[in-house]
């Protein structure tokens, strides 16, 4: 995999003394969708701001496309598009003007055809002559994306693109991100919605307290850290767990109609075969069994708790 951005031991301490980044090292691969997951105040926005030039790093280095973001800021920034978390737009300018403005700011010549394509792609073409202030919240977010795309960035940062938006718009946003990936844009998005990372990311990074706790392929992450749960529906309800099954840590659920067995997929053996044998030895008849993969949410909560401990 080729690397589009290389972040090495990046540190940021704000003037007030707050250490927002405590040495983050991360390689962003060309063409991927990387989701940075973390609670509020984890350092996600600071990480993005430092890469994009909004804040100056206190230590470490970042290169984008091989250009250092401090010493080679012009070449580095040309490659980067940024969609900020807050809706920062000039209220009185027209949609097409504000999008064209960003393109100009990034040193690209005027290209009405491209702006039209971007606005159409984001369903903003009908609103091209509307003033920003007249748009709904969802439309404004689309305008922010249109602005970020106006200079054809290779690397797009979306800082919490779906924070506080309704389900419909979130789905739209995911579709937009998918479309951009298909066009070859590398996308880094921050979110504290786990289902978002789960739905669209190729890789997931978990960030908390200014540190990157891990970065992994989404599937591998879930496989590596994922716990699975086996639910055994019983023909005859039980009130207590029989002696022979005491070592499995079973839980009685559904008024005794089912047992839950939680196991780690990382383990040498899952213990399922033995459990099932012991169940039949205890004379219990099974109606059904089902397994459930733990979500990223469980992984995430586990990691953050581990980090805090």
């Amino acid at each position: 995999m080729e690397t589009i951005a290389d972040i090495r031991d990046l540190r940021k301490t704000y003037a007030g003394g707050f250490e927002a980044l405590k040495g983050v090292t991360l390689a962003i691969e060309t063409g991927e969708i990387l989701a940075l997951l973390g609670p509020n105040g984890a350092g996600k926005t600071t990480l993005i701001s430092t890469i994009c030039g909004i804040t100056s790093p206190s230590g470490g280095s970042v290169t984008v496309g091989g250009h250092d973001v401090v010493s080679g800021y012009r070449d580095a920034r040309r490659l980067i598009g940024l969609v900020p978390q807050e809706i920062h737009l000039e209220p009185f300018s027209k949609v097409k003007d504000t999008v064209a403005f960003t393109r100009g700011l990034f040193g690209k010549p005027r290209d009405d055809g491209l702006i039209e394509r971007i606005l159409r792609q984001l369903s903003l073409w009908d609103k091209r002559d509307a003033r920003v202030v007249e748009l709904s919240g969802g439309m404004k977010r689309r305008v922010l994306i249109a602005k970020a795309l106006s200079h054809e960035p290779a690397l797009l940062f979306l800082d919490e693109p779906t924070a506080g938006v309704d389900v419909e718009l979130r789905k739209d946003m995911w579709a937009i991100v998918d479309g951009l990936k298909a066009q070859g844009t590398t996308i880094v998005l921050t979110t504290h919605y786990i289902e978002e990372a789960e739905a669209i990311a190729d890789r997931v990074g978990v960030i908390n307290g200014g540190q990157l706790l891990l970065v992994e392929e989404k599937a591998a992450l879930m496989k590596r850290l994922g716990q699975k749960c086996l639910q055994i529906d019983l023909l005859d309800p039980v009130t207590a767990i029989p002696e022979v099954l005491a070592g499995y840590g079973l839980e009685i659920v559904g008024n005794g109609h089912a047992l839950r067995y939680t196991y780690d997929t990382r383990g040498e053996g899952t213990g399922i075969t033995r459990l099932l044998a012991d169940l039949s030895a205890a004379g219990m008849s099974l109606r059904d069994i089902q397994t459930e993969q733990s979500s990223l949410e469980d992984i995430f909560v586990g990691l953050v708790r581990e980090g805090a401990a």
């Binding site: 704000y14 003037a15 994009c52 030039g53 909004i54 804040t55 100056s56 800021y73 012009r74 070449d75 580095a76 920034r77 040309r78 980067i80 940024l82 900020p84 807050e86 920062h88 737009l89 000039e90 209220p91 009185f92 300018s93 003007d97 064209a100 403005f101 960003t102 393109r103 100009g104 700011l105 990034f106 040193g107 690209k108 010549p109 602005k147």
Partner: protein
């Protein structure tokens, strides 16, 4: 040099100006007319010529300077303060632009607006009094340099200001008094000797004097000194702006 960026900033600033072109045009015309009615007609009729120039004509350069300075400051300070206030500054900070390009865009636009207002006032004044411009080139040079340097000064104020009150503070508390006391409406020679000395510490005196010289060929201070003053002020502002962007003072955390 990122020319497209300079153009983008300049165009977007000018777009805002043209959105409110009526106000931009009407208010200086009205205020200038008021000054002429009050100072030119009512009071001026009782004042003889000042240094060989009719009083109505004598105040024209000062009136133009007054508006040009305030307009340049207001437009430039608001131009850069507004993105800070609404958060769109993120775009400037994350764009491949350097300080010179940002300054050229914002300050260029503010200076253009101030120049426009200055010319409108000159035109309005010509309706009231007989105007002669002895040194048109010097007049244009002074006007341009004043627009530019005060727009730079306004840009600094806009970066420094952390709220709208601070944005108004300098123009109101510093510039207006300096301009009024800088010989807009009188010749320094009309002051008592002590005040003639004190007034020489007012930088605006040199600008108005030089500007008036370009109209009537009379000046309170030597023309070379006026040119030096405006050049020094421009250089000082440029230096401060350069320092601001180097350190990221009040813009980059």
């Amino acid at each position: 040099m990122n020319r497209a960026a300079i153009r983008a900033i300049y165009v977007s600033e000018m777009t805002r100006f043209f959105r409110t072109i009526a106000q931009s045009f009407i208010s200086p015309v009205i205020s200038t007319s008021l000054y002429f009615v009050v100072f030119g007609a009512a009071i001026g009729s009782r004042i003889d010529q000042v240094e060989g120039v009719s009083y109505g004509a004598f105040i024209v350069p000062g009136l133009i300077m007054l508006s040009v300075m305030t307009q340049a400051i207001t437009n430039a300070s608001f131009g850069i303060y507004f993105p800070k206030f609404i958060g769109t500054i993120y775009e400037l900070l994350s764009a491949p632009v350097n300080f010179l390009e940002i300054v050229l865009g914002f300050v260029g636009a503010a200076a253009t607006k101030a120049l426009f207002i200055g010319l409108v006032i000159l035109g309005t004044a010509a309706l009231f009094v007989d105007l002669q411009i002895q040194n048109p080139l010097a007049m244009i040079a002074f006007l341009l340099l004043t627009c530019l340097s005060f727009a730079l000064f306004g840009f600094i104020i806009g970066i420094w200001a952390q709220n709208f009150e601070q944005l108004q503070l300098i123009p109101l508390l510093v510039i207006t008094p300096l301009v009024f006391l800088g010989g807009s409406f009188y010749s320094i020679a009309m002051l008592p000797p002590v005040w003639q000395k004190i007034t020489l510490f007012n930088p605006v005196v040199y600008l108005i004097s030089g500007f008036r010289w370009s109209f009537f060929g009379v000046a309170d201070v030597p023309i070379g000194l006026s040119l030096l003053a405006i050049a020094a002020f421009t250089a000082l502002c440029l230096g401060v702006v350069w320092w601001i962007f180097r350190t990221g003072w009040r813009i980059r955390t």
